[in-house]
């Protein structure tokens, strides 16, 4: 691990150099919000973004991905990952990527995610603007971000780049980096510590206490029904979540009627048909028919079910679900604090 410094004046040249070397994805403005997109120029890069609409997981787990393609000659996986740099990931999203890395690689290694992931150099960046619904400081606070290759922090006059892996170190040759001074490192640490004080929302309890009480609230059907009264089952809280990874799979034919593809699409457990099975003769069994049961399932997933496997909650406090929910009922802070107070 090394710590380097690059002057603000030299930063654009660094970004230009890595763009010239291969695809670079970073936060860019999208109307009034931000999104991760392939950078064409360093000017597009908006390291002052608050939160992206979709988390960067879309680069490894795209909204639609062909698992295989078939034709009369046979079938094959169309997987062709390319080396790329993902620049400017906030630490909460680093934590989320670390979770999906585990979930896609454990037990059955999912090459369709992992191939894209393993060909990505992740450069995290400090949070310059805190989003309106963030609570990253108080959720899973003892889980450290890991899995990234470098961490970039904006300080006075430039950026500190801490490289953590070989991949991260390989970036140094693209810019006018010099060793960071102790004072610069100290300033970077202070910047990253200060942002933790700025979250507008806060969980009031620790991970284990929350997990136990949320789990125990499972049978409080009246509470879940009341909480989900305005739920549209639109799945936005799932779709924008950096730790959600459910999907559905459909086969389709091409116009020639002999070739086609098997494609997976993001799915969400809030949508009505998520747990619905066909029994034949038009009959169905929906294992989570009521809105409230789907709403509850999501909270169980985020606060308790995966904790043992992940070493913390399956929530990183990005606030995307809270902000994205048009009915404003998805906010984990409000839900959990209400359960904890009950």
């Amino acid at each position: 691990m090394t710590a380097s410094f690059i002057r603000s004046d030299d930063f654009a040249a660094f970004v230009t150099a890595i763009i010239e070397a291969g695809p670079v994805y970073g936060p860019v403005a999208k109307r009034s919000r931000f999104a991760f997109a392939r950078l064409e120029t360093p000017e597009e890069l908006r390291l002052d973004y608050d939160v992206s609409i979709l988390p960067p997981k879309k680069l490894f787990f795209p909204p639609a991905q062909d698992l295989l393609q078939f034709d009369e000659a046979g079938f094959r996986a169309p997987l062709e990952p390319t080396e790329k740099v993902l620049l400017g990931v906030h630490f909460y999203d680093v934590k989320a990527i670390d979770q999906t890395d585990l979930l896609f690689s454990e037990r059955n290694y999912d090459i369709n995610y992992m191939a894209h992931r393993e060909t990505t150099t992740i450069v995290a960046a400090n949070i310059q603007t805190v989003s309106s619904r963030a609570f990253f400081a108080s959720v899973g606070a003892d889980v450290q971000p890991k899995g990234h290759d470098a961490f970039l922090t904006a300080i006075a006059g430039g950026y500190v780049l801490e490289t953590l892996t070989e991949r991260g170190g390989a970036l140094l040759k693209f810019g006018a980096f010099q060793p960071a001074t102790d004072a610069q490192l100290k300033e970077a640490a202070a910047v990253n510590a200060a942002v933790l004080e700025q979250c507008p929302e806060k969980l009031e309890h620790g991970t284990e206490a929350i997990a136990a009480k949320v789990r125990a609230a499972f049978k409080n059907e009246a509470m879940w029904t009341a909480m989900a009264a305005d739920c549209f089952s639109c799945g936005t809280c799932n779709t924008v979540c950096p730790t959600c990874y459910c999907f559905d799979v459909h086969d389709t034919w091409n116009v020639d009627q002999t070739s086609g593809q098997r494609t997976r699409y993001w799915d969400g457990c809030l949508t009505e048909d998520f747990a619905k099975c066909s029994l034949g003769e038009g009959a169905c069994e929906n294992f989570r028919e009521e809105r409230a049961t789907r709403f509850r399932h999501r909270m169980m997933r985020k606060a308790t079910y995966l904790n043992e496997k992940l070493g913390g909650p399956a929530c990183v406090g990005c606030g995307r679900c809270s902000a994205g929910c048009t009915a404003d009922i998805a906010d984990p802070v409000r839900i959990i604090n209400q359960i904890m107070a009950s």
């Binding site: 079938f75 060909t119 990874y245 294992f287 169980m300």
Partner: protein, 280 residues
């Protein structure tokens, strides 16, 4: 990242293998019994109770419990109920045509917990299909097990599956076979009533290991009978069904609380799932 880069060296779990239909029998008006052979000649290695993802390109994939025992070499059986897009297309296929399979997937029956024991299998409806893998296994290695009792309930006589097997089991000496139908017809002289009406017909000890598989409603009633016999719930094994999709513990559709039926199951010890509110 934290682990080695090895996507180039790992098998793609979503790519299926081709299998050829060597036998196809219309078992009931909606169910077809297929016998399949891997086209490349390499049989799949599986345990009783495991599942495969069965697919047809363009139609999609469905999870199906293997309905034959690994003791019967080279081929394996699947019973497909025509209820949707994939199953509808598969059941229209004939001998000699190809399907695609991934697997085996999931956890089957833990034979170490059944060997040397009295075994009771209670199968309701299509629940006879995945349990048939175990029934055949026990019959093929009969001396590894003690007493073997099999209960089978179907809605009506015409919906009974594996009728050749049933004929054999009715007179076999190595299985105590009891059957019932919910609703009889003039051809039926056997027991009429729900599956639980079979329990008084056989004396069972609390040391018996029980394997149960049936429609969602079935478990609640069967477990009550097993409780009355005094069989501890850790010795009861339930083969569960949910909307399995990917079969490899990723897509999320088959979850029962925090369990993924496709990788944590489909066979569970009843003790492990009885506390799950979404299980029964």
């Amino acid at each position: 990242m934290n682990h080695q880069c090895h996507w180039t060296e790992v098998e793609n779990i979503f790519l299926p293998r081709e299998a050829t239909i060597v036998r196809s029998v219309q078992a009931t008006p909606t169910e077809t019994h297929f016998t399949l052979k891997m086209t490349d000649g390499q049989p799949i290695e599986y345990e009783p109770g495991q599942i495969v993802e069965l697919s047809l390109f363009g139609y999609g994939e469905i999870p199906i419990g293997i309905a034959s025992s690994p003791t019967r070499k080279n081929t394996f059986d699947l019973v497909v109920r025509s209820v949707g897009r994939v199953s509808g297309a598969v059941t229209a296929l004939e001998k000699g045509q190809s399907v695609y399979v991934r697997g085996p997937l999931g956890r089957g029956f833990d034979l170490t917990k059944l060997r040397g024991q009295d075994v009771l299998i209670v199968a309701g409806g299509i629940g006879l299909c995945p349990t048939r893998s175990l029934i055949q296994y026990i019959l093929d290695r009969r001396d590894e097990f003690k007493r073997f009792v099999l209960f089978y309930g179907a809605r009506e006589p015409g919906l009974q599956l594996f009728t050749d097997d049933l004929t054999m089991w009715r007179t076999a000496r190595d299985v105590e076979y009891c059957e019932t139908v919910d609703k009889g017809d003039p051809s039926w002289s056997g027991n009429v009533g729900v599956i639980t009406t079979l329990f008084p017909q056989v004396e069972l000890t609390p040391e018996t290991r029980a394997v149960i598989c049936g429609p969602p409603i079935f478990y609640r009633f069967v477990i009550r009978e097993l409780d009355m016999i005094g069989i501890p719930r850790e010795n009861v094994f339930a083969d569960l069904e949910r909307r399995m999709k990917c079969g490899v513990g990723k897509c999320g559709h088959c979850q029962i609380n925090d369990k993924y039926v496709c990788v944590d199951g489909p066979v569970f010890s009843f003790a492990d799932v009885q506390g799950l509110e979404e299980a029964f």
